[in-house]
Subunit: 361 residues, 2 copies
Amino acid sequence: MGRVWNFSAGPAALPQAVLEQAQRELLDWNGSGASVMEQSHRGKRFIAMAEQAEADLRELAAIPDDYAVLFLQGGATQHFAQIPMNLAGEGDVADYVVTGHWGEKAASEAAPYVKVNVAASGKAAQYRALPPRETWQLDPRAAYVHYTPNETIHGVEFHEVPDTGEVPLVADMSSDILSAPIDVKRFGLVYAGAQKNIGPSGLVVMIVRRDLLARHGRPMAKILRYAEHAAAGSMLNTPNTWGWYLAGLTFRWLKAQGGLAAMAERNRAKAELLYAAIDGSGGYYRNPVDPAARSRMNVPFTLHDGALDAAFLAESEAAGLLALKGHKALGGMRASLYNAVPLEAVRALVDFMRDFAKRHG
Amino acid sequence: MGRVWNFSAGPAALPQAVLEQAQRELLDWNGSGASVMEQSHRGKRFIAMAEQAEADLRELAAIPDDYAVLFLQGGATQHFAQIPMNLAGEGDVADYVVTGHWGEKAASEAAPYVKVNVAASGKAAQYRALPPRETWQLDPRAAYVHYTPNETIHGVEFHEVPDTGEVPLVADMSSDILSAPIDVKRFGLVYAGAQKNIGPSGLVVMIVRRDLLARHGRPMAKILRYAEHAAAGSMLNTPNTWGWYLAGLTFRWLKAQGGLAAMAERNRAKAELLYAAIDGSGGYYRNPVDPAARSRMNVPFTLHDGALDAAFLAESEAAGLLALKGHKALGGMRASLYNAVPLEAVRALVDFMRDFAKRHG
């Protein structure tokens, strides 16, 4: 069939132009007579591509020189564990601000390696709102403060970066990285699974202040130590070469789109269009999140009558609108509006939603 | 340019037919209207593919039901650390049989997590021969015995599985998995980075006896625990979906080639052809490895005069023979002859070698 509009929460839509280029050069990349997947990661051709990808990301996100950029594996979940191993000594405290499913997971995976202090939680509010900054119980001795700027399942998002003073701020940006300009200096460490706004799954992009890499952590294998990956240019062992390559194509595509400020503008317009359709449906569709904390990336919504869910899903898929089923934790629907989802896709979705409401009134 | 013969040690050549199928369906996989990379790993389409890949691997390698098959990330190197975390308690001893670079690395990455006993080492013989089984100093209390059946850099290979009695045998098969039939029951755990004989980098395939998953190990994050990955069908978090897909295509390709017995036959013929050319060159080319321990997968060789190396590399590349440069630890040349390298490629290589020797006599 033809290409559909893909609202998957991740692995998610990739830019059409990126896929087309990857397809064209799949068997013969860069005049090498072999696929990019068949190249040694230590060969000149691959290294030139890898360095260009990093340079493009640095330019896009205005990453200062005192930050390392790492291309890693394991998904964000592995780094829930690896971050405390690297940034905290045994017995240290780390603050966790928990505003949804992924923040919960980050805290629980960290617990074997650091004393987790849940400094704030949105749980009592069913993760539909963010705990106000002034209520956070931060520990001044904390090794770092961890938070999740955007919660993929609950659809809540911080619209500004919290101030944590001298304590380094660590952000799991898996679902909102590169969706808007980022003030890297506000963070000690930013990390993201690639499969939402960057590329395919199996790749993690990390931006980390170099002085934090000098922290001792604890006895551990070299392969788990970020400082070793940084010293080896993310080639301590064989990286995910295909993921790195596709991330590089995406970075170039983002530059061609006008960069992160332009993406932010588009992402705002897309989200506004969908929330307006939900809010303007007279209660036919509902989004449960505090409007001040609504995510631009992931929009969960329910139908006024759950008995219509199956029809909504079947008809939307038939209309070429893919992956609108909500996460099982919340039920209902969810539309993810990452960078690679164009405004046109959201227009098609809201048109479908209005039509569905009319027909199933 | 046209496709070349690719002798890369890894990431290595993939079967042409696999790449062609991946290219055809890159933008529209399985009638979904989206790339396989854009599919939720929890969606029906992806899960059916993933289960088929596992079933095909089980059939190919005759994997018994009391073994789990896992699709993981991190490269073999990460599992050098994760295996002792999972299979040994703190303070336990593990035996390491070190027959080259990768065995050394496996032992050193394990050291923070287990008492490493180097039970045997080929180091004194410069890793050109295997230490005879009767010289191994195995510890009967060891949690496991680790070895590297094929050493990618040094080009030495075990041609039979060593007997370790009741102590589970753990094998890093990164560079020889699926190159011949495997008697899985002889092993406690087999693991392999995919980028040599299975698929792209960023994927690790593990075959592990289920009772070993019940070992307690130590306090650690769920994401590092193999038992959790097994319980979740390797979807504890988002797996490398592209890698899993390509591995699945490769497994089907291997079945179509006649399975592992047929591959073993071809791999034997390929290696014999190349070793015969080296040994029959009157000393123009040399392979330093004890003939009884020569690898069928990775053939390091030197020219009689190192001053000719640059010309050999430039001319071989111009002749469409890619990635023959040896590892920096050994210098000279190396030809890797994994499953996806056809006999025709080896014929082209030995023809080139003879011609080169004539011209540069």
